[in-house]
């Protein structure tokens, strides 16, 4: 029977939306290494969120003005 995953591994699995068993590569790794990886994933996801918000907001500016409200709603973009 395998040992329970580290809390850091469980946190990373939750962040990635996968069962902890999918992170076998981290079995036996030091908690601080897994935490570093979790931080890197969090940063990457935040960078993705930022790029998406900025990119979609910018995309709306290329939509004819009368349709922008609809485009914003469609893309889930705030008025900014």
């Amino acid at each position: 029977m395998s040992a329970s995953p580290l809390p850091e591994t469980a946190a990373l699995a939750a962040r990635l939306g996968v069962p902890a068993e999918h992170l076998r590569a981290l079995d036996g790794c030091a908690a601080e290494d897994v935490a570093l990886l979790d931080d890197a994933v969090e940063l990457a996801l935040r960078a993705e969120d930022r790029a998406v918000s900025d990119g979609l907001a910018a995309a709306v500016r290329f939509v004819p003005r009368p349709l922008r409200g609809r485009a914003r709603a469609l893309l889930g973009v705030g008025r900014g």
Binding site: R15, L16, G17, V18, H22, L23, R24, A25, L26, C29, A30, D33, L36, L37, A40, V41, L43, A44, L45, A47, E48, D49, A51, V52, D54, G55, L56, A58, A59, R61, F62, V63, A71, L74, L75, G76
Partner: protein, 310 residues
């Protein structure tokens, strides 16, 4: 597991770590703690990270892709390049149908396309690159080479015809060539490239490996080539006039237990090439009188004597 199989497994893990580092914009050294893990496990971790990044806003990308489909292509391309940016453009390209993605790719600048390529889903990247005009692929590929983006370049090289791939890497350094080859997802395409590369380029790559202590990596790569590719490497090396490289290669083959992959290649070589390989084995015996060197020389001579005639 033979030594060469172990070396190949270590290399596979290292390459997976490179890919994961690329996804997370980390230095490879920051993931050094994954070095001893199985490549399949690291791949599973990387796939989970990639899926999390790409799936996070999938529904919004699908809606934006639908919008792209109803505006003039020129406007969509301008919006992508001037406003939307490469990351979102890459995600939207994945949500577009392949034909629309290709039409859009052909309307943006090669520089921007190179930026998009860095964030493009690898599977979708292959579909798009296969359909692009060769001139554009070469231009974007060379930009990626200049930027040292060898991982993404390896994806390009894996899916285009050999002449196009050769044009992209025409000015690549031996180190870059080696890394691109190592990172290629589909090693089966490398045989064609090895067949077409000039002898002096192949020797330069082998020389780079020798100079940087990378013989084991090189051997792992060589043993993963098809038989024609392995034969070509053996022939080029045997006729290179570089006894230092020949001795290093033979030593690596013996130490890593790679004879099962190398013997079939030697068996296809003509007698002149085999004579050169035997001379290199004899040269090992002249390296020193110590028992280890003499033992290596004797084992090499024995192995080579058993090579069947072509």
């Amino acid at each position: 597991m033979s030594a060469v199989a172990e070396a190949t497994a270590r290399l596979a893990t290292r390459l997976e770590v490179v890919k994961l580092a690329h996804e997370l914009d980390l230095g490879v050294d920051e993931l050094a703690f994954l070095a001893g893990r199985a490549a399949d496990d690291v791949r599973e971790l990387r796939v989970a990270v990639t899926a999390a990044l790409h799936a996070r806003h999938q529904a919004r990308f699908a809606r934006l892709a639908a919008l792209v489909g109803v505006v003039p292509l020129g406007v969509a391309a301008r919006a992508a390049e001037l406003a939307i940016g490469p990351v979102v453009s890459a995600r939207v390209a994945a949500a577009l149908g392949p034909e629309d993605a290709v039409r859009l790719a052909q309307r943006v600048s090669p520089g921007f396309l190179a930026e998009i390529a860095l964030s493009l889903d690898p599977v979708r990247s292959a579909e798009i690159v296969r359909s692009l005009d060769d001139r554009l692929v070469v231009e974007v590929g060379r930009l990626l080479l200049e930027q040292g983006e060898h991982l993404v370049l390896a994806r390009f090289v894996s899916v285009v015809e050999a002449p196009v791939a050769l044009e992209i890497v025409a000015d690549a350094s031996p180190a870059a060539l080696l890394e691109v080859a190592l990172l290629a997802d589909d090693r089966s395409v490398l045989g064609g490239l090895v067949a077409a590369l000039d002898d002096d380029v192949l020797v330069a790559v082998l020389d780079h490996c020798h100079g940087t202590g990378g013989e084991t990596d090189a051997l792992s790569l060589v043993t993963s080539l098809d038989l024609a590719g392995r034969t070509r490497v053996v022939e080029v090396l045997a006729t290179s006039g570089r006894p230092d490289l020949q001795v290093a290669f033979l030593r690596a083959v013996e130490n890593e237990g790679a004879w099962p992959e190398v013997v079939p290649a030697l068996a296809r070589c003509d007698e002149g090439v085999l004579d050169a390989v035997r001379a290199a084995a004899r040269a090992v015996g002249e390296l020193g009188p110590d028992p280890a060197t003499q033992d290596l020389a004797a084992r090499l001579t024995e192995r080579l004597a058993a090579i069947p005639e072509a």
